[in-house]
Symmetry: C2
Subunit: 209 residues, 2 copies
């Protein structure tokens, strides 16, 4: 092994700084935290935004029930304590993604203000952008959609503690972005989010994209 072979390897002692990482990758990490009632369209708009970002060349990743509840959080139930721990873990993982330079999209009902504010504080303490996206569709609209039949079951008492029916949804007081998904199209919501991200210099695509 000659010295010369190592000339294309760059490193220094200790951790790489966030600035060095993001500059080298031409990226900016952030967390977009989608919150809203079941059926409000969180997953639909998060999914559409994720795709739009990726096709721009922006590293983006969605955390949702499918890849978190059956994996990282599969040992959590639905007690008050477990619900809080669910959101806490998701918040910590979103923060790791943001630090890595990825735009993390968290898509969970996350009905309690205190839980969301704790995740916001976690990001703020580490100098990372936390963007709360209130997916604001009226309960009547969400219930009339009832894609998974959950509202019907909740009304019939077959599901207990269902957000909006017999458990509260605490709407954000000052979300960075509010999407009126009862009225606006998915395309309009994506436009609105991209405009916000661009205005903040986020969602930077790699030089080659």
């Amino acid at each position: 092994m000659t010295q010369q072979k190592s000339t294309n390897i760059t490193w220094h002692e200790g951790d790489i700084s966030r600035t060095e990482r993001w500059d080298a990758l031409t990226t900016s990490g952030a967390t977009l935290w989608f919150t809203g009632l079941s059926g409000s369209g969180k997953s639909t708009v998060a999914c559409a935004l994720e795709q739009a970002l990726i096709h721009r060349g922006v590293f983006s990743y969605r955390l949702d029930g499918d890849n978190v509840r059956h994996g990282l959080n599969k040992n959590l139930g639905f007690s008050a304590e477990d619900r809080a721990e669910n959101i806490r873990r998701i918040g910590e993982v979103a923060k790791l993604f943001a630090d890595a330079g990825v735009v993390a999209l968290s898509s969970f009902i996350s009905p309690y203000r205190a839980d969301r504010d704790a995740v916001r504080a976690l990001h703020a303490d580490d100098g990372l952008a936390f963007i709360e996206v209130f997916v604001d569709a009226p309960l009547e609209v969400c219930e009339s959609r009832d894609v998974k039949g959950l509202y019907k079951k909740a009304r019939a008492g077959e599901i207990k503690g269902f957000t909006g029916i017999d458990d509260p949804y605490e709407a954000p007081g000052s979300a960075e972005i509010t999407l009126r998904t009862g009225d606006q199209s998915v395309a309009e919501s994506v436009e609105q989010m991209l405009a916000y991200l661009d205005s903040k210099g986020l969602a930077r695509a790699g030089a080659g994209a």
Copy 2:
């Protein structure tokens, strides 16, 4: 909001596939799982590899005690059960990063074969590359370094259950990469890992890098 404004937004119904994601980002996710005794050099080589990858334009992120034990896993102690849960959560998070197209570098002693094999299976079940990196320095070398003074405390009985002293280290039977960090330099270890990744078509840099 006119239709035309949406022409630069690309998305389709449902989840983006891994192939579509990785192709659009010119990337390949994978997990490199570093395992070895305290003082073997896991963090040093993982840190150096991370920097080398990032300066190549490859999204890479290190999971280690600093960003996991004080965050996601701060509610875990050192009981047998909590140690297993620690590794399980790290494995799940590494898998999310790999799926996102990031090269995840996990740097923990992870002394038990069963825990590591469970993480390997988790990746294999989802078609993701899991690369075990055995950071193989003799106990005598690690103990003579004793950067944090932990071996001294373990020998004095001040720390119980210390890997290599009064708790076993189960060496990998068939790690994809073995680094003899007692003999080889950090540069040599990084070269070895990059050569492996290149041979597998991993560590793809974005087109603009």
